[in-house]
Symmetry: C2
Subunit: 453 residues, 2 copies
């Protein structure tokens, strides 16, 4: 089976018209969510450093950097703009999740920069984004768990294929050029999970977006590469799986839309996805029983072993540690009755009220059999009240998964919170949001980027 | 053992004064050879496409592109210049070889661009180059054969560490910054051997040089990364070895100089290194016996199985195929009594005299026990004359290996041939060569790059 070629044909033949309306709706929401995350993340240190260096180097002003740290407009060559934007988009770990890892961030910013460079419209942006997510997520099916388990950060190692697919669509490559672009992209796939917890984690989708656009521009200009890179011996699947893999699975069901199934898990809370079901349970309990922190004797939070594993900060001292602390996330949920970007500042994590409450939280492994997929998200919260009462709440599907999606209003609230976090004017948020809900009506993408830059 | 830290200290503490004169001499010759290869390679399609796109994107004019295809001066941000130059340096597969693969090309151009950006001098260039080659080659010791065998092109996957080391030295990072730079660099290590035989092969060291400089500039600006990326679980060695590996071997003998042992194998001929011992034997026979093509009944060339494996083009039709054809290389050696860049044009490969002679060549596996290292290079040539005579010539160490090095005059001849191939003026070659033989006397590296650009 010519698998690379099948993906190349898929990209070259993709049109806006082929995308069903339910998938377009998911994509519009995904664009809003991912762009919002980048606006918020643009003030984080990783994005500030990256945009400062990119501004120093400059170059052809083809694509817009979203909200660069130092305020002024910044346009750059497309691969450079895409890199900075993707770093910003992942800096807060607030962007969406699926079987690839974080699927949207490398793709959205490769698409946005390529479409702006090409003078494209809103349909081009949406189509490029959908194409990229479909390619990276379908390709991921070839791997068992061996890819991620070996130490690869699939957000970038798979994301580079998605970024290349999005850029290939944006620059309107034919199938033969797209196959070569995959060849060049595969030779740039990188990103070690060992760098989690550092700025190099958000650098990964930045590098993927950079590499995907670079691959596409080289291929379009005549650069050659192996046109069967995915399935060949010594090719991408063989080298990056490092264990059993099945290339045929990648091209099974090419007509199905992974954006619908398994879908995107949009993050409602700006912290590790593994805390989300527990936060849902806590917010539900706090509101239903009007429970005050002073009423609480103890909190037991049972999670799957897989979801417990990244929650390593039991007594966090910084905002960033707080994002990977089940104890702090639950304390904040009961104290504030909301979990938003402002929850994870150093000051908020260190406030005495939170320090007191988080001492009462005990994480534990639950005994619910974990099946494939979302059941790993199951959480059970048991709150003992000082008055002797006990409240148990179970959440199987946290808010934001494809099966339990956020409302459009919640997506909009998150977008506005992102702008507010970055101290961007409310009016810009409102205008950008209106444009993005009707992205297909945008005649030129630079009308949108002018608002965001 | 803190292995990443040991390498970071090595880089931060390296000075020109610490490098012994015999190593400096090897490095001066390596600089000349690698820069010559890039001047010649700059007219190849891969370099032409890369420099055209880089010129379109432009940016801060900090570092010089060597002989860009369209003739005019081109200065770019350092990582962009390094990428184009390294692609040019590897485009003809004429650059040097050691246990890493092609060790110099990613490092020389990361060093040259960084030192030019930093306003450094000739000693900075030589020191950065030596540091980079030492780091990548020492680090490679941790791997058994599993790294290359799995499908990685070590020229780039190891070269990115060498490029980062060279740039870290050029920008004078301290040890803590250098360790973080290795963390960022390791998350960009990529390059699949599957892309051999396409333009993406020379793209690999280009990407490595780009990534190494990018890592260093981010680390210098405060970007964070895992500071023990090499040796940690889920770290670089664990993920890229994909088989048994020994991190301790990487830091064994940190005081020894790999530039001396195993040394560099400088290519005397612009074709696959596996043809070199056979070409040496052919030139020796042709000259000693004044043997004409018309005198030859048959040629049997016995090589190790490992060296036979890449020589896949038995009836080549293009110059590029001719580089991987033992038959054509031997035919050309007997006909022309030299093997130079002009040997591998499409016209030369297709000339009738060569087509006739290469039909008389038979490649075969030899029965010499192959030990580790250079004995794999052993070749035996058996020529049967039409008059019934038989000549046998054996070559164990082809010209250009550390054990059988080229003379300074041969290095200079190759450099001049490279300039001539790219139709660059003889005078520029002579001036550049004089500067490079005395590279330590250069006060500013841009006096050299102005000649080469």
């Amino acid at each position: 089976m010519e698998i690379t070629r099948a993906f190349a044909n898929y990209v070259a033949e993709m049109t806006y018209e082929r995308i069903p309306e339910p998938v377009r709706k998911i994509a519009r929401r995904g664009l809003i969510d991912t762009i919002g995350c980048a606006v918020a993340g643009s003030i984080e240190p990783a994005a500030r450093i990256a945009s400062k260096l990119a501004r120093e180097d400059g170059g052809r002003p083809a694509a817009t950097v979203l909200a660069p740290a130092d305020g002024a407009d910044l346009k750059l060559p497309p691969q450079a703009a895409a890199m900075v934007n993707a770093i910003a988009g992942h800096a807060l770990d607030y962007d969406d999740v699926n079987t690839v890892g974080h699927p949207s961030v490398p793709v959205v910013f490769a698409a946005l920069a390529s479409v702006e460079d090409e003078g494209g419209d809103g349909r081009d942006l949406l189509t490029a984004y959908v194409t990229g997510v479909e390619v990276e997520t379908k390709a991921m099916r070839a791997f068992g768990e061996s890819h991620y388990l070996l130490g690869w950060h699939s957000t970038s190692t798979q994301g580079v294929l998605g970024a290349a697919a999005a850029a290939a669509r944006a620059y309107r490559l034919d199938a033969e050029e797209t196959a070569r672009a995959f060849g060049i992209a595969a030779s740039q796939a990188a990103g070690l999970r060992r760098n989690f917890g550092t700025m190099t984690k958000p650098f990964h989708p930045g590098h993927a977006a950079w590499s995907g656009i670079t691959a596409v521009r080289l291929a379009r200009a005549g650069f050659t590469a192996d046109p069967a890179i995915l399935e060949s011996p010594l090719g991408y699947f063989a080298v990056y799986a490092a264990g059993p893999y099945d290339p045929e699975k990648a091209v099974a069901n090419m007509e199905g839309w992974t954006l619908e199934r398994p879908g995107l898990s949009v993050k409602k809370y700006p912290c590790c996805y593994c805390t989300h079901a527990s936060i849902d349970a806590a917010l539900s309990i706090a509101k239903r029983f009007d429970l005050r922190p002073a009423d609480i004797a103890s909190i037991r939070a049972e999670l799957s072993p897989f979801f417990l594993s990244p929650l390593i900060h039991h007594r966090p001292k910084t905002g960033l540690e707080g994002k990977f602390s089940l104890e702090y996330a639950l304390a904040a949920a009961f104290i504030d009755r909301k979990v938003v970007l402002a929850t994870f500042t150093d000051e908020m994590v260190r406030r005495p009220e939170a320090r007191t409450l988080l001492e009462k939280v005990t994480p534990a492994k639950h005994d619910v059999a974990v099946e494939e997929g979302t059941r790993a998200t199951f959480a059970r919260l048991t709150v003992e009240r000082k008055d002797g009462g006990k409240i148990i709440e179970e959440v199987a599907e946290p808010r934001g998964t494809a099966a339990n999606p956020l409302s459009d209003e919640e997506i909009a609230d998150k977008f506005n919170d992102c702008f507010s976090f970055a101290r961007r004017p409310e009016k810009a948020a409102a205008q950008a949001l209106e444009m993005l809900w009707k992205v297909e009506q945008l005649q030129r993408i630079d009308r949108l980027t002018a608002l965001l830059g």
